[in-house]
Symmetry: C2
Subunit: 246 residues, 2 copies
């Protein structure tokens, strides 16, 4: 494919805010926070309407090189090779793609206004527990969420159990790690300073890593199995109920 023709097609695509998809033989050089080089090979190059640029090899989930949205893209010929440079500052980074041969290039303006909805996140787990605190245990009463614990950070849920004990809940959507336990301890130290007594500590997660069980028993942290899926179902059920009542 004629490289000057392709260059103009890409420039026109960028001007018109289109998506550009190109396959061809290329080399890639990156320098910024880190640096990388990748010799000649057949790859897929994508330039998006917002100035993001991705270079994908024929295998693997991740792009081998990229530039995030907002980078400034220049297209020109140099020594008979099509060069695409994507530059951004803060941090200052440069991605340079040298394309020796273009197999295909497609320029197309895509419209996509749909809203992306994600479920079974940590945020949903928290909402479900606030809505149905028996997910933790019978009689648990949440008092605050996202409460600041001094310098240590934010507590997911602060509440009291059926015996009136102050209780700190830390939620994880994945198996809890030793580091998660230490983080919880950090929060609790701050709460103890503030309230003058040590609260119950519960980690709510689908499971625990083996290495974290030591810390668990050592610090007297309790574990309650709560899965993202279960919490999502609780919310779904509740929403269905609300709709029925409305």
């Amino acid at each position: 494919m004629d490289l000057e023709y392709v260059a103009e097609k890409i420039r026109e695509g960028i001007r018109s805010g289109s998506l550009i998809v190109l396959t061809g033989l290329m080399e890639v050089y990156y320098e910024g926070r880190a640096a990388s080089s990748l010799g000649p090979g057949e790859r897929l190059l994508i330039i998006k309407q917002d100035g993001s640029l991705l270079v994908h090899r024929p295998t693997g989930y991740e792009p081998v090189n990229w530039q995030p949205p907002g980078s400034k893209i220049e297209v020109f010929l140099e020594d008979g090779v099509l060069v695409i440079e994507a530059r951004r500052m803060n941090p200052e980074e440069l991605l340079k793609v040298k394309i020796k041969s273009v197999y295909s290039v497609e320029v197309r303006k895509l419209r996509d206004l749909a809203e992306f909805a994600m479920y079974a996140t940590e945020e949903e787990m928290k909402k479900a527990i606030l809505l149905d605190p028996s997910l933790i245990e019978e009689g648990f009463k949440p008092m605050e969420d996202e409460r600041r614990a001094g310098r240590a950070g934010f507590i997911d849920i602060l509440g009291v159990d059926s015996s009136g004990n102050l209780t700190v809940i830390e939620i994880k959507r994945r198996n809890a790690t030793a580091e998660d336990i230490r983080q919880l301890i950090g929060y609790v130290n701050e709460i103890e300073k503030e309230f003058g007594r040590k609260p119950r500590m519960i980690i709510a997660a689908p499971g625990i890593q083996k290495s974290a069980i030591r810390e668990l028993t050592r610090y007297g942290v309790e574990f309650k199995c709560v899965t993202p899926k279960k919490c999502h179902e609780v919310l779904q059920r509740r929403r269905g109920l609300d709709r029925f009542l409305a």
Copy 2:
């Protein structure tokens, strides 16, 4: 574009181990570790030779939905709509793309055998310090790298300073966090158990997060500014010298 034709083209592409790039109007549903839904919109869909699948919206660095390498892909028509399902187990996850209209589809076998080289990584920082220990301070002598520190993990570099003090170096390619300091303390506790005395602790990083400065002074950890770029240059210089001497 005729959907049955496209379906067969995609199936043939998968059979032959080709890269498939498609633009069209589609909905996307995901359920697995989490769940998501995305209504109709114009997007880019990529199926790679290794069974990875990516759905990209017209903007943004990240795919909105995906399936990693090794997922099993099925293509069929359902209610007059082209459906692509990518399934994987462990964890069990299903990605379903419903394509109402195909604007373009490209099937192409790409060859890419080049080696990807990455520079200015944490690994390079370590190599540079081992090669030129004055990056830490004059008179510092590395003894071991990647030394096991009991259960706490691995120490980046263990050495002695000009006064003969045992010294533990923790390297970060980004600004050090409070968590990094705690990690270093964990290593040092193990080293103290083993050697019977507390070593000097140095964190080598391009900077320190503000919230980490408290931990730094509190635990007596020292900070030495070392950047990935500087280390990379040290290695480059050294390699150039080696080549000159050879």
